[in-house]
């Protein structure tokens, strides 16, 4: 190990490796916020070059959770591949299934019955709320507030119970499949869902009081890791990270897929400080905005679910013929609005029933690539704040 020898003669501090340091500058450290670190959600490794507490360079290294999902995609029929899509963004299984199903339906040209589309919207939005609850809770943990995590998971538990009552699983549902949904809703489902929404909506304001507008939380996150709108677009950041930088771009609104054009809801985007309900020191595109956009999105999702429950019709819950359908010699690229950003599926068929190439564009893959650009010059304690606000899931980042 490198021992630093203080040559008493020369006034210069020479390191045994012989690196001459000009004056008595503090030692630059290469610190490894390694794959197993409480602040990196999952197995992200960030190599930090720091001078004291100041971070000079923060290079993210990924690939620790790479399970070659795309190679497997070239061996399985589409309906067999659905369970793999659950494991990509394991906090938003429903949305992943929906993305892959829409891609295949568009490629093959399957018509999804209306009731299935309503059920898909309800479950996608419920999963969005559950995913944002996890993001809200773990962000509180990164900032050192342990309590909001427990409240967020208590509410998420109810959503998982609803999922379990429908498709039997709590995390990897494989419920939305090609042509619709796996099976119909249990009969008292809508009443219990209504009961949950009535219980949950006032809770959002309670969370805001507890964490989002807490003075210390604001001081830790406002004006930290600011991403300008131009940078967000050039680095292809999507989802709450893009909207927090002031870009009004949400696929459910801008290019509505399925039946999202039937519901009216608005898109929360980042607001500068001084506005009503926004602390003064907040800047568009900082960590606080990324956090609060997620919290407001939860409220919008509740609105969507209520409208979907009102407009839901009866009918079949899945299209007729789904198994060993032949994929045309064609390619398709479809993106939908995942809780963490735009999850894109590129599927290329070659006439047989097994796709020739399946490419997954994970939002976390692009969102985390901006860490080095944003992390320059911030403090060591800000790195968890930035990574937590970008809210990455390594499953879809490494695939």
């Amino acid at each position: 190990m490198g021992t630093t020898v203080l040559q008493s003669g020369s006034d210069v501090l020479t390191d045994v490796e012989g690196s001459e340091q000009g004056d008595l500058r503090t030692e630059e450290m290469l610190v490894n916020m390694g794959p197993q670190h409480p602040a990196t959600h999952g197995v992200l490794r960030v190599v930090l070059r720091t001078d004291g507490e100041m971070v000079l360079e923060s290079v993210p290294h990924i690939g620790y959770l790479h399970r070659c999902a795309e190679k497997i995609g070239e061996n399985l029929q589409p309906f067999q591949y659905i369970p793999y899509t659950d494991r990509m963004d394991y906090l938003a299984g429903m949305n992943n299934n929906q993305a892959f199903s829409i891609a295949i339906e568009k490629l093959v040209g399957i018509e999804v019955p209306l009731r299935a589309q309503f059920i898909r919207v309800i479950f996608a939005e419920l999963n969005r709320i559950a995913s944002h609850l996890v993001a809200f809770g773990t962000y509180g943990l990164d900032m050192g507030a342990f309590t909001p995590f427990l409240y967020a998971f208590r509410e998420r538990e109810m959503i998982l119970d609803l999922f379990e009552s429908t498709c039997g699983a709590r995390l990897t549902y494989s419920y939305i499949t090609i042509g619709g949904v796996h099976d119909d809703l249990p009969d008292r489902f809508l009443e219990v869902l209504d009961e949950f929404l009535d219980y949950f909506e006032p809770k959002i304001d309670e969370y805001n009081q507890l964490l989002s507008f807490n003075h210390i939380f604001v001081k830790r996150t406002a004006n930290v890791g600011v991403i300008s709108a131009d940078d967000a677009v050039r680095w292809a950041l999507t989802g709450p990270v893009l909207r927090a930088s002031g870009v009004n771009w949400d696929l459910r609104k801008s290019t509505p897929y399925e039946i999202y054009d039937r519901f009216d809801f608005d898109i929360p985007i980042g607001l500068p400080g001084g506005r009503e309900g926004v602390p003064r020191s907040v800047v568009v595109g900082d960590s606080w905005n990324r956090h609060i956009v997620k919290v407001w999105e939860m409220r919008q999702s509740c609105r969507i679910i209520r409208q979907a429950m009102a407009q839901i019709t009866d009918g079949p819950h899945i299209a007729a013929k789904v198994k060993n359908v032949k994929l045309p010699d064609d390619e398709v690229y479809v993106e939908i609005e995942n809780p963490r950003g735009q999850l894109g599926f590129y599927v290329r068929g070659d006439g047989s029933s097994i796709p020739a190439r399946v490419k997954v564009r994970g939002p976390s893959f692009c969102n985390i690539s901006v860490l080095n650009h944003v992390g320059k010059g911030c403090l060591l304690a800000d790195i968890p704040a930035i990574v937590g606000s970008i809210d990455i899931v390594m499953g879809e980042c490494d695939r």
Binding site: V31, N32, M143, G144, T147, R154, E157, S165, R188, P384
Partner: protein, 513 residues
């Protein structure tokens, strides 16, 4: 792979040899007899144990006093000095003294009282009480913190170990930690690595030597008690820094660096905040400071002037930072530094840090109670006790101890301050290191200077018990009373209609789920 010679074989019956077999046998027998007893009614046992400790120390004091009065009276050549080794009285003289003063069963009692003449025996006995109390405090503060944290986070906290509400959870953790293998990283600076936990733990214990629990309840009546305790809290910093530095781990070095600047910078505002009550009383000895607040809660120093009121709050904030408690717990912030300075520690050494932190928490809240919140005096004034004619008989002193002034009040107030520290930890997030230093140097320090100056002028120019003085005193006392009554009201209201833990929405009743 060479098979490690492990004394116990997985699944096999544990084999003890020599003295260990004896000890194991005794332990099993004890466990067999007492475990059902403890499991039967743990609640009363727990509370009984605490009361027993306090009554025990009280009786110990009474016995000392009795020994002095009776023996001094009966013997002629005694000069009142109970030296370390040379005992003034022989056994026979003790028995004669006791029989003359008509004490029942003096035959046996003299054997008990004879050794108590020596100062060293008394010190050993009272030190046993002190060390017993000190090891009880961290044990139950840890358990209580986990219960309070559970309640705040709408879960229940430990419920299983030892029966009622898992009261012996931290004791079990302590035993587990002692049995765990405590590693020392290969590249660590081994002697320093081993020394650091003791430097962090022992000063917190030594601080208890000078911390008075009552007018006569102090192990060593140091005339500079306050400065002595501050010195002990200062030494703890070195233990933490050496720990961070010696474990040769980049994250621990960060923890140690943060620790260094935070603790050193917060000692200054903490010291200045403590100056104000000293200015009021004029002596550094905590017993004198405590005894000047005996005239009911309006005489407490915190309600004396707006400056002391603000100083109490500022002191509490600085004390939080000094004990590395949230929101200032940067040195061992889990989310960034993994575990800060004690990342590499495990087992017994790690528990030393943990014990040191909780003991320091109690010492710091003890200082706040003594200097600001009327030490061991209850809100009822002592003059009321004299009006009720409570003399010096044991019964009267018991009532005075319970209602007016006694260690129970001191411990109760300290426990309330511990609750506030726990309450703050589980609600507030953690602040960044530059905000910690900004808060200290640009906010707390100027505030303390203003308060110090303000209070000196207040003491000089505002006549004591004058009109302005009493107005301020009454207004502040009212604020204090409203705060305490409000707390009590919220607590009872919350306890009264506490809702069962909000679980799932009864979705299991859905068919098909």
């Amino acid at each position: 792979m060479t098979r490690m010679s492990v004394p116990w074989r997985p699944g096999g019956k544990q084999v003890h040899r020599g003295p260990a077999a004896l000890v194991a046998g005794i332990a099993k027998a004890l466990y067999a007899t007492f475990a059902p007893l403890v499991r039967a009614f743990p609640g009363p046992l727990l509370i009984g144990a605490i009361v027993a400790v306090i009554v025990g120390v009280w009786i110990n004091y009474l016995v000392f006093e009795f020994v002095d009065d009776s023996l001094v009276a009966s013997s002629t050549n005694l000069a009142g000095e109970t030296g370390l080794l040379g005992g003034p009285l022989a056994l026979g003289e003790v028995r004669a003294g006791l029989t003359t003063s008509g004490v029942p069963g003096s035959g046996i009692l003299c054997y008990v009282l004879y050794p108590l003449q020596y100062g060293v025996v008394r010190d050993v006995v009272s030190m046993g009480g002190i060390l017993g109390f000190i090891s009880v405090i961290p044990l139950y503060t840890i358990w209580w913190e986990r219960k309070v944290a559970g309640r705040i986070q709408s879960r229940t906290g430990p419920m299983r170990v030892g029966g009622w509400h898992g009261w012996s959870q931290s004791m079990a953790d302590g035993i587990k930690l002692i049995c765990k293998e405590d590693l020392c990283p290969a590249s660590a600076d081994r002697p320093l690595f081993k020394l650091a936990p003791y430097l962090a733990f022992v000063p917190a214990i030594l601080a208890f030597f000078a911390l008075p629990f009552g007018t006569y309840w102090v192990f060593r009546q140091v005339d500079v008690a306050l400065v002595f305790i501050l010195a002990m809290l200062g030494i703890e910093v070195i233990g933490v820094i050496l720990a961070g530095w010696a474990s040769n781990n980049k994250w621990s070095v960060y923890g140690a660096m943060r620790e260094a600047c935070q603790m050193v910078s917060y000692e200054i505002p903490m010291g200045m905040a403590l100056l104000i009550p000293i200015m009021v009383v004029g002596s550094l000895s905590l017993t004198t400071v405590g005894d000047t607040q005996s005239e009911g809660w309006t005489s407490w120093i915190v309600f004396r002037s707006p400056f002391t009121f603000a100083a109490a709050v500022a002191y509490f904030v600085a004390a939080l930072a000094n004990c590395k408690r949230a929101p200032f717990d940067l040195p061992e912030s889990e989310s960034e530094l993994v575990a800060g300075f004690h990342t590499e520690y495990s087992g017994f050494r790690w528990s030393l840090f943990f014990f040191g932190e909780y003991a320091a928490m109690f010492v710091v809240s003890g200082l706040c109670v003594i200097l600001f919140l009327g030490a061991w005096y209850s809100p009822l004034p002592m003059s009321l006790a004299d009006r009720w004619g409570l003399g010096d008989s044991v019964g009267a002193r018991a009532i005075k101890g319970l209602l007016f002034a006694g260690p129970l009040w001191f411990v109760a107030k300290c426990v309330f301050l511990l609750y506030v520290q726990i309450w703050i930890r589980w609600t507030l997030p953690r602040i960044r290191i530059d905000q910690v230093l900004y808060a200290c140097i640009q906010v707390l320090l100027p505030l303390m200077m203003v308060l110090l100056l303000g209070h000196t002028l207040y003491e000089l120019f505002v006549p004591v018990h004058g009109f302005v003085w009493t107005v301020f005193n009454l207004v502040l006392s009212l604020i204090g009373a409203v705060f305490v009554l409000g707390m009590i009201f919220i607590a009872t209201y919350g306890f009264w209609n506490r809702v069962g833990l909000v679980g799932s929405l009864g979705v299991e009743t859905l068919p098909g789920s």
